[in-house]
């Protein structure tokens, strides 16, 4: 199969709200999902330095209809983002949604049908409309959120027979990693601690992250002078042995937006365009792995497709984000990508190599744990961070030598494996 864009496609602008809780987080408290989406889109338009009426199509993503109550999301959101009377559609690629939108928009541009496309992702995972109120919301219990989210997973057989994301996506993978590479459970725990410390450090330097407190400060708040003692305490229980609470996703509310353009739509005096060089998308239902839970074949295929389409090799990658709802799964994916050597991910986390200022910077926005995860909006937030890093605009968490090539991988539950390759100029 030939997979090349016939014309180059560029990201002109990106937008992203703070990820948090619509009921609590000051920057987004009291907003509706329509307003959240509009904020992300407005930032993207300003970033791209274009007018909303220049858009030819809008692609709007949302996953959990129970919390949005807007199954026809596109037609309702278009009015809020200045895209009335444009082409468009509502899409759902679960946690890969916004980047799936980038692939669809890019194909629309490369085919010559569109010149500029707006992609918006919006999600609430923490609250739902209060009765049928247009603006009041009420919180939802964690298990309710997972029940609705697990609707994305095999409903014929897995969910009715006891499927649970935490053993499947964390516990089994952690045990398999330890056995495969001869890592003791104690060393695994220390590696996960250091990885969380790095993610939380990144979150502490990002005003859009849901968790902006370092792990050390959180530990001190609970009375621990040694943050590792806090890590192994009852405050950080096993969610699925040997994986702990702070090695997994922090559910959030949020929205993100990306504006794509053909080359002819670029203002030479405008912001640096970031080229969408290529991608790989592969889907797989359960089981996600066989004998070796550290190896997901569909990710192998997605990375290979993306590298072939963009003409890069793993050695070309300057910045990597991989889906890290599960920190141990993210280490496996980073090793599979070729960015980290096999079996070395935890030791690299322990020596600080995965920090923004390390030799293998990853997930500098804080990842799913510290930045937070608002299902349909998150892939766009990952793209947002990659674009800002390429442009050198990440402030305190800026990678010292701004990356030229960034790769963003997401797992859309469950599973839409998506690998995007972006390049600066």
């Amino acid at each position: 199969m030939v997979s090349r864009l016939k014309e180059p496609v560029f990201i002109l602008g990106v937008g992203c709200t703070r990820f948090g809780n619509l009921l609590e987080t000051p920057e987004i408290k009291g907003l509706t999902l329509q307003e959240l989406a509009a904020r992300a889109a407005a930032e993207a338009f300003a970033d791209a330095a274009i007018e909303p009426n220049e858009i030819d199509a809008v692609i709007v993503g949302n996953v959990t209809m129970q919390t949005s109550n807007m199954p026809a999301t596109y037609s309702q959101i278009a009015k809020w983002v200045g895209a009335q009377l444009k082409a468009g559609v509502h899409i759902d690629g679960a946690c890969s949604t916004t980047n799936i939108g980038v692939t669809l928009g890019a194909m629309g541009i490369a085919s010559g049908v569109y010149r500029k496309v707006l992609i918006v992702g919006l999600e609430s995972t923490l609250s739902q409309p209060k009765k049928l109120s247009p603006y009041e919301r009420v919180s939802i219990p964690t298990e309710e959120m997972w029940l609705w989210t697990d609707a994305c997973v095999n409903q014929a057989y897995s969910v009715p027979q006891g499927y649970d994301i935490f053993p499947t996506y964390n516990g089994f993978i952690a045990q398999a990693y330890c056995r495969k590479y001869g890592v003791s459970i104690e060393d695994f725990d220390k590696g996960m601690f250091e990885l969380c410390r790095t993610r939380r450090l990144h979150g502490s330097m990002n005003t859009k992250a849901i968790l902006q407190q370092t792990l050390e400060d959180e530990a001190a708040g609970y009375g621990f002078s040694d943050p590792f003692e806090f890590w192994v305490s009852a405050y950080n229980p096993f969610l699925a042995w040997p994986s702990r609470l702070r090695s997994v996703v922090s559910a959030a509310d949020g929205a993100s937006a990306v504006i794509l353009s053909s080359a002819e739509g670029i203002d030479p005096n405008g912001p640096m365009p970031v080229e969408v060089k290529g991608w790989g998308v592969t889907v797989s239902d359960l089981p996600w792995y066989g004998d070796d839970p550290t190896y997901m074949e569909y990710d192998r295929i997605s990375f290979d497709k993306a590298y072939a389409m963009s003409g890069i090799q793993p050695a070309d990658i300057d910045y990597l984000h991989v889906h890290d709802c599960s920190h141990i799964s993210s280490i496996c994916t980073a090793e599979l990508s070729g960015y980290l050597p096999e079996g070395r991910g935890l030791s690299l986390a322990r020596d600080g190599s995965l920090r923004f200022d390390g030799s293998r910077p990853m997930s500098t926005h804080g990842g799913r744990h510290a930045f937070g995860h608002a299902w349909a909006a998150s892939a766009g937030a990952d793209t947002y961070e990659a674009v800002k890093q390429i442009r050198g605009l990440c402030g305190a968490r800026q990678i010292p030598k701004a990356p030229h090539t960034a790769v963003v991988h997401t797992h859309g539950y469950a599973m839409v494996s998506t690998v995007m390759v972006y390049e600066g100029r």
Partner: protein, 133 residues
């Protein structure tokens, strides 16, 4: 009424049978069964009854309270990644196993362990689980 593959799977479990589909074209076993071969997409499939014997490679545990209210009375429960004798991978509840960390650690050291299918009835639905043997 048309025969539902999904309904039939659960009714077979209720009768103590693990019935999947085997593709005439590529010999792939799809278990639990789908309408077309999960590997090649061909429609010519025969029923195949699995032994229910296998090995659990890894055991961890679920969260509690569970997302699916069907399991309110069971969670947290041990959950395993199982390779059936026929080479098919499934995941399911490992019955009668403590989820205390010390027990999880001990099982990690002992795995892989032989398992045998055990059909549990959970709120009127027969589901595939496993016993350590």
């Amino acid at each position: 009424m048309n025969e539902s593959i999904i309904r039939t799977y659960y009714e077979n479990l209720a009768a103590g049978l693990l019935v999947g589909k085997k593709c005439r074209a590529c010999n792939c076993i799809t278990f639990p069964p789908t309408a077309l071969c999960e590997k090649c997409g061909k429609p010519d499939l025969d029923d195949v009854t699995l032994s229910g014997e296998g090995e659990v490679l890894f055991i961890s545990h679920s969260m509690a309270p569970p997302p699916n209210p069907r399991f309110n009375d069971l969670a947290p429960y041990a959950y395993g990644h199982v390779r059936l004798a026929e080479g098919v991978f499934v995941q399911g509840i490992i019955a009668d196993v403590s989820v205390e960390p010390v027990e999880m650690a001990a099982l990690y050291e002992r795995c892989p362990l032989p398992v045998r299918a055990r059909i549990l009835t959970v709120e009127d639905l027969s589901i595939l689980a496993f016993d350590l043997v």
